[in-house]
């Protein structure tokens, strides 16, 4: 179970990522591309976590904490505190 607290994602009490967008983009500002999104401001790929299992997401963030994510707190993958 991944825990989200104060917009930070933890797995087993280890911080995986802080969810922060300096441009304050919302999901409605993104362009859908396949399963993911493209940020129209940075032109970066935003990973849609709706399609990921816990291990996939953890592995992705361990490789690169700066990976941009779209997170739906209703996703049962997350325990949103």
């Amino acid at each position: 179970m991944l825990i989200i607290k104060d917009k930070k994602i933890y797995q087993d009490n280890v911080l995986l990522k802080e969810i922060h967008c300096p441009k304050k983009m919302k999901q409605s500002d993104l362009q859908k591309k396949g399963k993911d999104f493209i940020c129209l401001s940075c032109n970066k790929r935003i990973i849609n976590t709706d399609h990921l299992a816990e291990d996939e997401l953890a592995s992705l963030l361990q490789k690169d904490k700066n990976t941009c994510l779209s997170v739906n707190p209703l996703n049962p993958l997350f325990n949103y505190l």
């Binding site: 802080e18 969810i19 919302k26 993104l30 935003i46 779209s70 707190p73 209703l74 949103y80």
Partner: protein, 161 residues
Amino acid sequence: MSGYRWGNKNSLREVKTLFNLDEINEAHEDGNIILLKERVPHPSMWIDTYVFRNRKTGKYESETGRGYIQQYTCDYVVNYSYEDWEEVLWTKCYIRNVDYQYGAYVIPGDVKVNEKLYVENLIEDIYLGDFWGGRYYSEDGDARWNGKDLVHFERILPFVG
């Protein structure tokens, strides 16, 4: 389709919810502030509902559609094929099933303006959003007392970063 329970994670003072007028009057006599609220259906909390009948056995089953999009693969999975299941009814159902039209929040009499409180049982239908076809509403939540009303915090939004 389900209710989402936040819990009193910030250990706030609790607001009770009452639906019985005798209990409401008693809470008023005890010095609490009574805040009456009407329950207003939220338009996003209606969902398509179908009743299918199996063409061979005649058995009836109810679902929100003939199939669904599978989460990880994004494949469309058919549960009720045209060959096997006849659609006999299409209607809309409301996702929150409660039997009251109004209720009262019991606010502690010594509440301060801007104090955050925890409402254990929400009267209002507060829609949160959806996730893979499931629709969610708040069953409880934090709120701020502005001196006249409770302002509920809406925390669910897909966020990006």
